[in-house]
């Protein structure tokens, strides 16, 4: 059991508000990913859970217990840092053992735990080495082992894969998912990489400027965003967002929801445009199409359209999202929905 609850968490550095009255529940056993642009407060929130960067006001609960005032070591959480924070003067084994020793775990119990964890993480043969001689991936594993050996209620991870090369990052991603399935512990994972968020998270918390924009499963975040920020932050290329002429309300559609045809098709939204650029990426092709002064990105499995040619684009009605003047979603059950849709 490890459920985290934030109540009215606010964090200020001087006059600057980093987190603004955050209320949030993180479910037990979830792989919760906090994502957002840099400076959005995601790492600050993580550090508040760990107790290494206390909140200005508000409370944090772990399993219903108020941990707001507890020192980091008494919170039963473990953290993996972006730069791994491995003690460079200790051997790998000493690194893993340090916390156990401080917690007065008996020696044979320590040996057993280290043996077990280093087997799981695959660093058994590295135990006597110094961190300076290890690769980034190996250091990453040590940081993981050091966190795991404490059998914490919650794993906190602060962009743990961002210092790895692309290939290693993909394989570590899979390993972390497996690890989560195996341990069934609550993971709270901070990243700015939407691929990591979408692929690993069971819940995503999208933040911007100290405020939670949306908290949902990856597919809800992608298919049914609450607001313009969420719609544009997740997805690559990002969602096409266009204004209604002379209005503040906007509509948007994802690049892969557009159909390209040589003749006008039977779609709710049809326009004739001109292909300005074409990027062939292998399995898919990205076209940039310009029409009525707008420029949109289109992701297509079809490679048959040529640059500098005219083309018809078509989007189905459910694939068009509306955003009001405050950048909030206008959903189909909203009274304004049909009124705006009819203007397209």
């Amino acid at each position: 059991m490890a459920e985290i609850r934030f109540e009215e968490i606010t964090k200020k550095f001087g006059d600057k508000v980093i987190l603004d009255h955050i209320n949030l529940d993180i479910e037990d056993g979830s792989f919760t990913v906090m994502i957002g642009p840099s400076g959005c407060g995601k790492t600050t929130l993580l550090r508040i859970i760990a107790g290494i960067g206390p909140q200005t006001s508000g409370k944090v609960f772990l399993d219903g217990e108020d941990i707001s005032g507890l020192p980091p070591a008494k919170r039963n959480v473990a953290m993996v840092f972006q730069n791994y924070a491995i003690y460079p003067t200790m051997t790998v084994k000493e690194n893993i053992e340090f916390g156990l020793k401080n917690n007065k775990v008996p020696k044979d119990e320590r040996e057993r735990l280290i043996g077990e964890i280093s087997e799981i993480v695959g660093i058994h043969e590295l135990l006597d080495r110094k961190p300076g001689t290890l690769s980034g991936g190996q250091r990453q594993r040590i940081a993981l082992a050091r966190a795991m050996v404490k059998k914490p209620k919650v794993f906190l991870m602060d962009e743990p894969l961002s210092n790895l090369d692309a290939k290693l990052r993909v394989s570590m991603r899979t390993e972390l998912i497996e690890l989560h399935n195996r341990l069934k512990t609550t993971f709270v994972y901070v990243t700015h990489d939407q691929t990591e968020a979408m692929s690993m998270g069971t819940r995503i918390i999208l933040m911007n400027k100290g405020v939670i924009q949306q908290e949902a499963t990856p597919s809800v975040i992608y298919q049914d965003p609450d607001n313009l920020f969420t719609a544009q932050f997740i997805g690559s290329p990002q969602m096409n967002v266009l204004p209604f002429p002379d209005e503040k309300v906007r509509y948007g559609f994802r690049p892969e929801k557009v159909h390209l045809t040589n003749e006008p098709g039977q779609y709710f939204y049809t326009r004739k445009g001109h292909i300005v650029t074409k990027e062939m990426l292998g399995s898919e092709t990205i076209y940039q199409v310009r029409y009525e002064g707008n420029s949109v990105m289109i992701k297509s499995l079809e490679d048959s359209f040529e640059q500098d040619h005219d083309v018809y684009i078509g989007v189905k009605k459910p694939n068009i999202l509306l955003f009001d003047e405050d950048e909030r979603r206008i959903r189909p059950d909203d009274a304004r929905y049909e009124q705006w849709m009819s203007k397209l």
Binding site: A73, M79, N83, Y87, T89, M90, F98, G99
Partner: protein, 275 residues
């Protein structure tokens, strides 16, 4: 691949040899003079090797005064300073580098001021203070004023500042208290710097002449430097071979310390950052 011999490499080699001779020659001269007879030591042209090694010179030095006591005093003062400096410098540097507290900038400024004020400005008032505390007949006036090493605090603080905060945070999550963080994480990482600071400090204290000259008011608290200086008076006017033999006795401990730690010192000065 054989290194190519170029004009530059020859010039560079010769320059290094010349520099080395310039630095080593006074040592060499001191040592061989210490083994000469009086006649040889003042002979002209000088000889570069004594006709016979005069070990008696060293015996004479040793017998001309309580040199065992002087040596003990020198060690007591140097090691006393070292211990006190260590005890003060390490926590001070840690606090200045990693802790937030009111007046941190001000107090660090004070340390820097202490670093810049020369001893010659403060010795009269310190002497006065020691005299009023009735310490003049002890070794304390030679130790206490050097208990805080401002330069060392500065250097070690710079070193500690380079250690990423995440390491400390990680240690806090590992249930380490501040003392454990200092001894298990910070100190091992600052060791090369610390060793060289303490070594330089040992050499400075051991070689110090001015300070004990002011503070040592009885022969019982003389360090070796004052003892060697006294050789001039005991042995009449300049018996160079005796004075040089005394100097050899004086520098031997330093050379031993340097021989043990020289790699550390070089590394500390080449130490630019922590990966």
């Amino acid at each position: 691949m054989k290194p190519k011999i170029t004009v530059w490499s020859v010039v560079s080699f010769l320059l290094k040899v010349i520099l080395m001779v310039i630095f080593i020659f006074p040592f060499y001269w001191m040592i061989i003079t210490g083994f000469k007879t009086y006649q040889e030591s003042i002979a002209f042209p000088p000889s570069f090797w004594p006709a016979q090694l005069q070990w008696e010179n060293f015996v004479k030095v040793w017998e001309s005064g309580p040199y065992l006591l002087y040596m003990f005093n020198s060690f007591a003062v140097s090691i006393g300073c070292l211990v006190l400096q260590f005890l003060i410098m390490v926590p001070a540097s840690y606090a200045f580098a990693k802790m937030e507290f009111k007046g941190r900038g001000f107090f660090f400024g004070l340390v820097m001021v202490a670093f810049m004020v020369p001893q010659q400005v403060t010795f009269i008032s310190i002497f006065h203070m020691m005299s009023r505390a009735n310490l003049l007949k002890t070794l304390w006036p030679q130790i206490l004023p050097h208990a805080a090493n401002a330069f060392g605090i500065f250097l070690l603080r710079q070193n500690f500042m380079q250690i990423p905060d995440e390491l400390l945070e990680s240690a806090r999550l590992d249930n380490a208290n501040e003392f454990q963080i200092l001894t298990s994480v910070m100190l091992p990482m600052g060791k090369p710097t610390l060793v060289s600071i303490l070594m330089l400090s040992f050499i400075t204290t051991w070689n110090n002449y001015f300070w004990p000259f002011i503070m040592a008011s009885s022969q019982n608290v003389y360090p070796l430097t004052l003892g060697i200086d006294a050789l001039r008076d005991v042995e009449g006017s300049f018996d160079w071979q005796i004075i040089m033999a005394g100097n050899v006795i004086l520098v031997v401990p330093i050379i031993i310390v340097y021989a043990i730690f020289h790699k550390r010192i070089v590394r500390a000065f080449a130490y630019s950052g922590i990966k």
